[in-house]
Assembly symmetry: C2
Homo-oligomer: 642 residues x 2
């Protein structure tokens, strides 16, 4: 399958038309709304909002936090706007309006808006594109503005965003008076396409195209800055990421033109935001070269550089990709934001193609690498998401660099937008199994889709149709890659379900009250990793449905996870544990536990001298997302095999 023509691309059913009522997600989303957003607003008040106030009040100096602190406010605004898109919350609405007013008041006459430079170095705007993130912050402002406008119809923040985008459009370009440069941290590309879509102003699309086309060209500013650090402004030098003493641009995917890139490289969040923006461009322009680039990069990432949790970016020093098959577990970086970025990118790849494989990767990241990023109570967060711990990795309430918490918040608040999609012929896609309703227009008729599901724990999902007039359409029900056996029935009658292309497709005239029920087989899967992955050689990981499992010290009755040896062929059972971790299904079975006898005072011993008295241990595995909610203990996903 390949990219669809631009006029046949799929569109998500917008957030305003989807309501979620789901056993798995309700608690999460309520916590996100009631606790996480509140918690984050309090943190904003301490640093980020204070910066905006200082600019508004005409003060200088005194900037607090990271130089891209503005983006935290924007991501909170975006998340809050998504909440407002789906529910009436006057208190939150008022708070959002106050923040918007504050942001607007900090905008300068010419449209420029960045509190770091306004307070600290007004003379140094746009002098350090590598690291000072003015364009990155602008992108988040634009995303927040589009979200707010779509949610409320208001233009208060949109006006701020368009003024800033117009200012940027006036500064950047290839003309003789233009600054020819690209952002060191991408994000504005996808934001500009969003802005184009709500304003119909082609210059925003052109500006996004400019930023993509110029990236990795030797005559743009990034490399020049790295060679002239004394002529750049800002707190952070433009050349902090050097390879063999030489800046090569790969940290920011600027080592070669985008169309020539074949491997996912550099800072993983930057990469995901870039590829998302490129996908948006392709959606509008239909450019095949760029699409082929995306396919190549996606294949590289998903077949050589992605954790089984959907996490990406192995290395902490540059928060990014390294080389093929470097999937270190305990020191995995796998930043929460990068997994979120993968959700963004794969969502767009699906929209370009309709292909289910992109949702498989999206779902893997969402239910594992992203979901682990926030505690069950919604107030503490992982920045890194390793697949193994010696008991020293623990979520924190906030970070000096606080990108991840509000990123989780905005993704969760917009979850509804990932559940359904429609093509140009009004055919309908159910892409995630999340209970609730969606209002669609099919063939000019108003249709409500209902979804009841016990996903990801149970095996049954029913999609119902409410319509005043019968409608003829193809209903595409996604069959996740992990499901090898799905049964479908329409109104209780079993129907043929060929899921060859990743969907059960049922095309018929639907009348009010019709329903389709899918029964997914939900076996416990035992996964192996590619033999070229050294860290997972002879290891097994458990997955059930979309959930990857791990063993955590708290469940092992004194045995450390590294003592376990699992026979991949042995029988395991699942158990519903309503009181554990807000309710999970555990995987239980037998394992061996190697003995620590004879090891006193020794770190290395003869294999032959090891004690034979290995004991039988109970293997209890929990969903990976739930670990470290009972204190920081030892944990591992990939278990040694017997």
């Amino acid at each position: 399958m390949t990219r669809r023509p631009t006029d046949e691309r799929l569109d998500p059913v917008p957030l305003t038309d989807v309501s979620i009522d789901d056993g798995f997600w309700n608690d999460r989303l309520e916590t996100n709304r009631e606790v996480t957003l509140e918690h984050q607003y309090d943190r904003l008040g301490e640093r980020s909002l204070e910066n905006f106030r200082r600019v508004r009040d005409g003060k200088t100096g005194g900037f607090q936090g990271m130089w891209f602190e503005d983006s935290d406010t924007y991501k909170w605004l975006e998340a809050a706007s998504y909440v407002l898109a789906t529910r009436d919350d006057p208190e939150l609405r008022e708070r959002v309006e106050e923040v918007i007013e504050l942001v607007g008041a900090a905008q300068e006459e010419d449209g420029y808006l960045n509190t770091y430079f306004a307070l600290e170095e007004p003379e140094n705007r746009w002098t350090n594109l590598n690291m000072m993130h003015e364009l990155y912050c602008a992108g988040h402002l634009i995303e927040a503005a589009v979200a707010h406008h779509r949610a409320t119809g208001e233009t208060s923040l949109l006006a701020v965003a368009t003024d800033l985008a117009d200012h940027i459009d006036g500064v950047f370009g290839t003309g003789p008076d233009d600054l020819d440069g690209v952002p060191g941290h991408e994000g504005i590309e996808l934001a500009l396409v969003k802005l184009y879509r709500v304003t119909d102003e082609e210059r925003y699309l052109d500006l996004a195209q400019y930023f993509v086309d110029r990236r990795g060209r030797e005559d743009t500013r990034l490399g020049w800055e790295a060679e002239h650090p004394d002529e750049t402004g800002g707190d952070v030098p433009p050349d902090i990421f050097l390879e063999d003493g030489k800046w090569d641009g790969s940290y920011a995917q600027a080592h070669e033109p985008v169309r020539e890139q074949e491997t996912v490289d550099g800072h993983a969040v930057r990469a995901m935001y870039l590829y998302s923006g490129v996908a948006d461009l392709v959606a509008e322009t239909g450019e095949d070269d760029l699409y082929r680039t995306l396919e190549t990069l996606w294949t590289n990432m998903t077949t050589k550089r992605m954790y089984v949790t959907g996490g990406i970016g192995s290395e902490s020093a540059h928060e990014g990709f390294t080389v093929d098959y470097d999937l270190r577990n305990r020191t995995a970086y796998a930043e929460t934001c990068a997994a979120i970025g993968s959700v963004f990118w794969n969502h767009r790849m699906f929209q370009l193609t309709g292909e289910a494989r992109f949702y498989d990767v999206l779902e893997r990241a969402l239910y594992n690498g992203v979901l682990a990023g926030v505690s069950l109570d919604g107030t503490s967060f992982f920045y890194e998401n390793p697949l193994e711990s010696l008991g020293h990795h623990h979520r924190a309430g906030w970070f000096q660099c606080a990108c991840c918490p509000p990123n989780v918040a905005r993704l969760f608040a917009s979850l509804g937008e990932y559940v359904y999609a429609q093509g140009p012929d009004d055919d309908v896609y159910v892409t995630l199994y999340v209970g609730g309703e969606a209002d669609l227009s099919v063939d000019g008729a108003d249709v409500t889709l209902t979804q009841e599901t016990d996903y990801p724990w149970g095996d049954s999902t029913t999609v119902g149709i409410e319509t005043e007039t019968p409608v003829e359409t193809a209903l595409h029900l996604r069959v996740p890659e992990w499901c090898e056996d799905v049964a479908a029935s329409v109104n209780g009658e079993r129907v043929e379900a060929d899921a060859g292309d990743g969907y059960v497709v049922i095309e018929r005239a639907w009348t009010d009250g019709d329903s389709v029920t899918l029964d997914f087989a939900l076996p416990v899967r035992r996964l192996a990793a590619h033999p070229d992955v050294p860290d997972d050689a002879d290891r097994v990981a458990f997955q059930r449905g979309p959930l990857v499992y791990c063993v955590e010290e708290a469940d092992l009755d004194g045995v450390a996870p590294s003592h376990l040896r699992v026979d991949p062929g042995s029988t395991v059972e699942t158990r519903e544990e309503a009181d554990l971790l807000d309710g999970v299904v555990t995987i239980e079975g037998d394992a061996r536990a190697v003995s620590t006898e004879g090891w006193e005072g020794a770190l290395y011993r003869e294999y032959d001298d090891l004690a034979d008295d290995e004991s039988v241990a109970t293997l209890t595995a929990i969903p990976y997302y739930g670990w470290d909610n009972r204190g920081a203990g030892r944990m591992r996903v990939w278990l040694p095999t017997d």
Copy 2:
């Protein structure tokens, strides 16, 4: 066993009295002398010597290299002095004298000597003890001066060193006009004890004691600097290593008083140099508290934080120790300098106790973690020594931070000092099996010990005695921990050899021409790591004699190391390969190679779907020290078991 009284400590037979003529080491030492030292001198000329010239010539500014670049010159001087201790080399002697003259000419009137501060910030001496390394450089100068004096009897460099030490003694202390602080990078402590030993000036010993006693006290300067970075000089802020935003001192072992420390923490080279200096202090003062601290730290390191290669320091960001059992393989830092530091420390622990266990660790580090640090041709170096590679780790000719190459050079050039030792009653210890001769004084008689050995490849070592008059003494022949079965004979007659305490001890009246032959059994050992080490769970490593082995892609005929599965119980053979890697013994056997069939385009698959057709592969393992001499390929030490 415990620490000996200070007047019973063992002394190494000094370098000037030992000559090496050994099948394994001759090439190494010749390469070190003829190639490595020459190569390093050329590098010094480019940066470090130029700094001394600028100071000598009264210039300002223009400092080149790292802020502790001076230490490279000092380490080269030390290494060259060790060479001069054992052979007449007029050309090298002249070069050494020229460099000494240059160093002396750069010393200031008051004894201060540091080219960074002299050229760049003369007003900021001693303001950034955390990171600017003035005391560290001074320590290396003192070590070079002592080495030069011992080798040549001259005092040209010793005079420079004592002037600087006297200056430091005048600056530091707890008096009202003193600066109360300790070095951010240790090393001067052990150097001051060396200086005390050649000068008999007690104030140097007292100054070493001061630096040890004041470390980790809240009222010394390190923590103050971290809280006042604006009041410190130098290129590097004093607070770069923060824990949770707060400087806690552990990076420099300054988080608590030395006597209270129980785990090896922070920067590994710093730690090794500190512990070496502490051991030297204990040797002079006999302080039991400090000795107990060393025992505790040694036990923590060797039972929980040391690679099987003797490498130490798992983490790259702070080049140091992390937590118990964190022995990540592919991303192991295991800096060459840290393994060298472990050799230094263990050498001193042996001198304090006479216990063989310290030489076991020393030997493990020397033959593996250190030896791997330099290429067979002597011109390229590892800084990090991982135990696994995906094919991207390769030695380099030099480093921006060039601490490791001259550190290897000085250790190799002083190897003779590690081979023999004597106690106060003139009893003799043979601690390493390295062919050659040593001139000793036993009971007032001149005795020459000869050693013929095919160590580490073969199983036989003969120690001969040449003496004009019969001498009565105990000859302690170290039995390495890996040796479970040793046979000893005197003049061809088998004798009882109880190696219970790590030595075969033969006490008798020795006459000229007597000899002792030891036959070590040299089986291939299969090692397991402690069950709490997650990275090595269900892995096996091969060791033969002191050499740890690895498999390298070059020997595997298209199979990647991560594809191999080894049965720890299967038979392996050894093979002498005279043409491989300058001559090695390889370990060969059968292994399974898992199939990559069916993995096209997949990164994770069902365990059950894996292809059954695993092939039999030939396992060929080479000594770890020899890897990456045939190009950078995939490598691993710990092999998955069957």
